[in-house]
Amino acid sequence: MDFDTTVKLNIYATIAEQARVPGAVGVAQALDAPLEEVLAAFERLHQVRLLVPEPGDPLHIRMAPPFSGVKTPFPVRVGGKLYYANCVWDALGIPAALRADALVESSDGFSEEPLFLEVRDGQPVPQDCVIHFAVPAARWWQDIIYT
């Protein structure tokens, strides 16, 4: 297995097990690898759009899609763990990735009325809602944090 894949799997395993996004120092310690090599792997994983470093701080991960490294309006409860998603798409991506039931404790983007989504037995529970994509697909990664 190549080093970038090893780094990727360590990041996602840490997130899945501990409900927190690790930083480069933690990944380097876990893999017993030089920090510089982990940072280089972070950059390559960013180039293939599998993670987004924190702007101005390459030691930390802002996004390991569908997971967020910071709190967002898309908290996702899976079992006894609380994850944060980057957007509503990623909020459903978390139960898809973990292959688990989940409750997305979100709200209406305008009224802020609580609006929860539930995934149970591999399907979303029907809910009155719509999803709006403000940014065209070709521009999603021009500013992925905004998207």
Partner: protein
Amino acid sequence: MLLFRSEETVRAWCQANGIPVRPLVNLEQLWHLAVTWYGNRLTAESRRPSADEMAGIFAGIGLEAPFWDPQADVWNTGAL
């Protein structure tokens, strides 16, 4: 991308933010995208779909306007 209770609150949010109303996605379509994008994300083989694959995934669930073309340089604003 945001979640709304109804088309009415989508319109209100777009007006408040000066953003055109774009095509809407329903919950079933979004679940399909979530599973397709992230279903194997915790595995060694996981990767982001290519642009061509993305276009096929979107078309497969009825999202075919230029807005959904990952290589387009023009977009429809769509209409509710």
